[in-house]
């Protein structure tokens, strides 16, 4: 590992990665794991990283994708444990909600959504709602057109709203979420 370079990178951008991971994963412990993993990846991809026009955007994407993987893994682990113990799982302790003031019915568990909504839609929703990025910024970040970003956001709304409606009907029926 190129120590000096990684160390400088870590000191300059560590808080950015930590804060975003903390917001997405919901715990300090998980956020520190994310910091460790993201900077390891940065060290492994040093050349690619050095050529990135903006290290911050590069780290945003790596952090987001890492957190998505963790959230997905956590859900799988919970399912595994449920099988192993024949017990029902309560709500995930890592539950994280995406809340949008203009879309109050959209209050969904990100980990759950990730299982059912394509990652490229979730990624855009996180940039838009959590990071407050404009559609132009998102388009630049992920290398697509603004129109595509808008379309994907709409599609995310549609699919997430469908899930939320399903959750409501489960609750009404007394089912577990």
């Amino acid at each position: 590992m190129p120590c000096d370079w990684t160390e400088q990178l870590y000191r300059r951008y560590g808080t950015v990665v930590y804060r975003r991971a903390r917001a997405l994963l919901g715990s300090d412990h998980a956020a520190w794991d994310a910091v460790q993993e993201v900077f390891m990846r940065a060290a492994r991809s040093e050349s690619q990283f050095r050529h990135a026009s903006s290290p911050t955007t590069w780290l945003y994407r790596i952090t987001t994708n890492y957190c998505f993987n963790v959230l997905r893994d956590n859900r799988r682990r919970h399912a595994l444990l449920a099988d192993a113990s024949s017990a029902s799982l309560s709500h995930s302790a890592h539950a994280f909600t995406i809340a949008a003031a203009s879309f109050p019915e959209l209050r969904v568990n990100l980990a759950r959504v990730l299982d059912q909504v394509p990652q490229e839609l979730c990624e855009i929703a996180v940039y838009y709602y959590v990071d407050r990025m404009s559609q132009d910024e998102i388009a630049t970040l992920i290398g697509t057109s603004r129109k595509t970003v808008g379309n994907r956001l709409r599609e995310f709304h549609r699919q997430a709203a469908k899930l939320t409606a399903l959750e409501h009907s489960d609750h009404a029926a007394g089912g577990l979420t």
Binding site: M1, C3, D4, T6, E7, Y10, R11, R12, G14, T15, V16, Y18, R19, R20, R22, S27, D28, H29, W32, D33, V35, Q36, E37, F39, M40, A43, R44, S54, P55, T56, T57, Y60, N74, R77, H78, L80, L81, A82, A84, S85, A87, S88, L89, S90, S92, A93, H94, I98, A99, A100, A101, S102, Y127, V130, D131, R132, M133, S134, E137, L141
Partner: protein
């Protein structure tokens, strides 16, 4: 740390995103490119508050973990970033002096055996708890458990085959092998994740309990591992920061939880 730092506010067309603010804070956007953004911040209360909130996260993290991030910044400091050669020199000096500590984060979960130091190999320990009412949930670091709760452990290892176990050091310093309940540690294939057999019901000893997951490069008997841990002593294991040198070719991972009485 308050949860306000993670508040989510809908973006408007004029306001700066967290990404743009982060680029200002880190000095990535500087000089003339930053001028319009700074002008906006000067006139926008929402963006000023958000910038302060982001900076506050950095300040608090820096206080808690001096090796992380640059020294505490203010909005003014952010504004001046990139202009002051002197302050950069100071930061570089601070960075250099903290280099060894900063790197500790990257190896915090990896012991010093060269054969086990593989990039990307991370030993993980997940703890699941079954409460008295039957609920099963993850036990998080610094979480609480009650006497009578049952724990199960899931371990995943890195790129090598390994032999794994979970030790506990309770509030009184007693060392117990929680898993496996067998003479030999559990063999895991490379990149395998396994929910270990059996559960452990917590006794009445209250206080801070440390769980240690070990992933050993060669076969190690349960007795050997226990003996090595007991040679160090429960009090030292409770107190010592990671990593702990137990004299065996093992990676380790630990976390604390608190055993308390139900209210």
């Amino acid at each position: 740390m308050s949860s306000d730092e993670f508040e989510m506010v809908l973006p408007t067309s004029a306001c700066l995103s967290d990404l743009a603010l982060d680029q200002l804070i880190t000095g990535e956007t500087a000089g003339t490119r930053a001028a319009p953004q700074r002008a906006h911040i000067d006139h926008c209360g929402a963006c000023r508050r958000r910038l302060k909130a982001l900076e506050q996260v950095a300040v608090e993290l820096f206080r808690a973990h001096p090796t992380l991030g640059s020294s505490p910044a203010s909005s003014e400091a952010t504004r001046e970033r990139g202009r002051s050669v002197r302050s950069r020199a100071r930061a570089a000096l601070a960075a250099a002096s903290a280099a060894a500590l900063a790197l500790a984060l990257f190896v915090a979960f990896e012991r010093t055996e060269p054969s086990l130091r593989k990039k990307g190999s991370v030993l993980t320990l997940d703890v699941f708890i079954r409460r008295a009412d039957g609920r099963v949930e993850p036990l998080l670091p610094k979480g609480s458990a009650f006497p009578g709760d049952a724990l199960r452990f899931q371990i995943s290892n890195g790129a090598s085959e390994a032999h794994v176990a979970v030790l506990s050091v309770d509030g009184a310093g007693a060392i117990t092998l929680y898993a496996p309940n067998a003479p030999e540690l559990v063999p895991l294939a490379a990149h395998e994740r396994r929910l270990l057999e059996g559960s452990v019901v917590l006794d009445d000893q209250l206080g801070r309990e440390r769980l240690l997951a070990f992933s050993c490069a060669r076969r190690v008997s349960s007795e050997q591992l226990l003996g090595a841990a007991r040679a160090i002593g429960g009090a030292e294991l409770q107190r010592s920061p990671e990593p702990i040198a137990i004299g065996l070719p093992c990676l380790e991972r630990s976390f604390f939880f608190y055993k308390v009485r139900p209210e």
